[in-house]
C-alpha cells in the first residue's frame, strides 16, 4: 500500500503517556496525587496522534472498500489480519488519548482539593499553573470551582475547611511570605482578636490560629510546623 518507512505502531500515543509519567518530576507513580506536576498540554503531540488515528481509519476504509468491490461472499483470509490490525490501532489510539485527558482532569481535580481555593485564585493571579493547562482545561478548573462553590453554599458548609482537625493549641507560628497584600509595607495590621502585628516579609510571628487562618489559606503566610521555638 503506502511506501512510508515502517514507523512502529502506536509510537506517538505511547510518547504522550510517557510524558505524563515523566511529568511528576522523577518516577513517582501517576496515581500519586501529592507530588504531581502536570506537564504542559502537548497540543502538537495530541494532534499528531489524532492524525495517525485518522490515517489508520482511512486505510481501513480503503481496504474494506477494495474487498467489497470484489463482491465475494466472504472476505478472503489474507486481508483479514490487516483489517483487524488497523482496527486495533484505532482502538489503541482512542484508549491512549482518552487516558491522557482523563489523567490530566483527575489531577486538576486533585490539585483543587489539596490546595483549595488558593489554587484557582493563584492561577488567575500569577498564571503559574495556567501555562501547563490547555484553555479548555482552565475552563474546566473554573467551572469545577463554581460547581463546588454552588454545592457548598447549598449545604451551607465550607467544604475546604473540613480536613483540618482541631489544634491542640490555639496559637501557631507563621512566617510572612508576602507583605505587599496587607496594605502599606510596614504598617500595623489589626487582627480579628484585637491584636496588631506588623508583617514584613520573612518575619515570624506567634499568633492565634483563627486570626491567621485566612492568610494561610490565601498563601500570604506560611505555617511553620513543630513546636514553639525558644528564640
Amino acid at each position: 500500500m503506502s511506501s512510508q518507512p515502517p514507523k512502529p505502531l502506536g509510537l506517538s500515543v505511547r510518547d504522550l503517556l510517557l510524558e505524563l509519567k515523566r511529568g511528576s518530576g522523577g518516577d513517582s507513580a501517576v496515581s500519586d496525587g501529592k507530588n504531581y506536576v502536570l506537564p504542559a498540554y502537548n497540543d502538537i503531540l495530541v494532534q499528531t496522534c489524532l492524525d495517525e488515528m485518522n490515517g489508520h481509519l482511512q486505510e481501513l476504509e480503503d481496504q474494506v472498500s477494495t474487498v467489497t468491490q470484489r463482491s465475494k461472499e466472504k472476505t478472503p483470509m489474507s486481508v483479514r489480519p490487516s483489517l483487524l490490525l488497523q482496527n486495533a490501532a484505532i482502538q489503541r489510539h482512542k484508549r491512549c488519548l482518552l487516558t491522557y485527558h482523563q489523567v490530566r482532569l483527575n489531577s486538576i481535580q486533585d490539585m483543587y482539593w489539596q490546595q483549595g481555593v488558593a489554587s484557582v485564585n493563584k492561577a488567575k493571579a500569577d498564571n503559574n499553573q495556567n501555562e501547563n493547562l490547555s484553555p479548555l482545561e482552565q475552563e474546566f478548573q473554573q467551572e469545577y470551582h463554581k460547581l463546588i462553590q454552588k454545592y457548598a453554599s447549598s449545604l451551607d458548609l465550607d467544604l475546604h475547611s473540613l480536613p483540618t482537625p482541631p489544634l491542640p493549641q490555639d496559637r501557631v507560628q507563621v512566617r510572612v511570605l508576602r507583605d505587599d497584600v496587607f496594605g502599606e509595607v510596614g504598617s500595623m495590621i489589626a487582627l480579628e482578636s484585637g491584636a496588631s502585628v506588623t508583617f514584613t516579609k520573612g518575619s515570624t510571628h506567634f499568633l492565634l490560629f483563627s486570626d491567621v487562618e485566612v492568610f494561610i489559606n490565601d498563601g500570604y503566610l506560611a505555617l511553620l510546623e513543630g513546636e514553639e521555638q525558644d528564640m
Partner: protein, 237 residues
C-alpha cells in the same frame, strides 16, 4: 481485565512479542523490515514479525499467528531470574516486567484455549508447548515477585527514611516501585509523628508535597525543623 484508563497497563501492553504468520497477510509488508527491497506488498506465510501485545490480541485468538515468547521471558532468562531474584535488574529489561509478563501469559492462554478447540492435532501439540511455557513463566513471575525481591523491598522501604535509595529503586519495576513508595510514605509519616506529635497534621498541602519520595526529601525543609530533627537525632544516638 485491566482498568481501561490505567496508564501503566497501557504502557505494559506495548511489549513486543515475536510471532510467525500462518498464511499470507495482505497489505502488511511494511511490518517486516526484511521485505523492503523486494517490492512485495504482502507478508508471506511464516514470516516472523514483532508486534505489541495490543495488536496481537485479535490475531492470536483467531489463529492467524503463532505466538513466540520474547527473549526476556524465555527459559534462559527465567532460570537466571530464579537463581538470583534480587540481583537481577528487571527495570533494564522492561520497566513493567511483571505487568507485561502477566498480559503475555493471559494472551497466550486465552488464545490457546480458543484455538485448540478447532485446530489440527499437530498444531495442537505446538500450541500446548507454548501454553506450557506460558504457565511456567507465570509461575516464575509469581515466585520472583513474591519472594526475595518483595522482602528486600519491604525492608528497604520501611527502614531507610531520609536515605538515598535511588540505587535500589532503579532496579525495580513499576509495580515494585509503587509498593516501595507506599511503604516509604508510611514510614516517613510514622517518623514525623514520632518526632513532632499531633501538631504536624495541620500542614496538609505544604509538607506532604515534600514527603512522598523518601530519598533526600524525607523531611520538610524549613530550617527550624531541620535543626530540631538534627537535635533529636543526636539525642537518639
Amino acid at each position: 481485565m485491566p482498568n481501561y484508563y490505567d496508564v501503566d497497563a497501557i504502557l505494559a501492553e506495548e511489549e513486543l512479542v515475536p510471532c510467525s504468520t500462518n498464511f499470507d497477510f495482505s497489505y502488511l509488508a511494511h511490518l517486516d523490515p526484511d521485505l523492503h527491497g523486494t517490492g512485495k506488498h504482502y507478508l508471506p506465510e511464516g514470516s516472523r514479525v514483532k508486534l505489541p501485545l495490543w495488536a496481537l490480541d485479535k490475531w492470536a485468538s483467531l489463529d492467524f499467528v503463532n505466538i513466540g515468547i520474547p527473549r526476556h521471558y524465555q527459559r534462559k532468562a527465567r532460570e537466571r531470574l530464579e537463581a538470583a531474584p534480587s540481583e537481577v535488574n528487571l527495570r533494564k529489561r522492561n520497566e513493567r516486567y511483571f505487568m507485561a509478563g502477566r498480559f503475555l501469559v493471559d494472551l497466550i492462554e486465552t488464545s490457546v484455549q480458543k484455538v485448540s478447540k478447532s485446530a489440527a492435532s499437530s498444531r495442537r501439540d505446538r500450541l500446548e508447548q507454548v501454553a506450557l511455557e506460558a504457565k511456567k513463566l507465570r509461575n516464575t513471575l509469581l515466585k520472583t515477585y513474591t519472594g526475595e525481591r518483595l522482602r528486600q523491598t519491604l525492608d528497604w522501604s520501611l527502614s531507610s527514611v531520609g536515605d538515598d535509595v535511588t540505587s535500589y529503586t532503579n532496579q525495580l519495576t513499576e509495580m515494585e516501585r509503587r509498593l516501595f513508595q507506599s511503604g516509604a510514605v508510611a514510614a516517613t509519616a510514622n517518623l514525623r509523628w514520632r518526632v513532632h506529635g499531633k501538631s504536624r497534621w495541620l500542614i496538609r498541602s505544604q509538607t506532604d508535597n515534600n514527603n512522598t519520595r523518601p530519598p533526600k526529601n524525607a523531611r520538610p525543609v524549613t530550617p527550624e525543623t531541620e535543626q530540631q530533627e538534627n537535635d533529636n537525632k543526636r539525642q537518639k544516638r
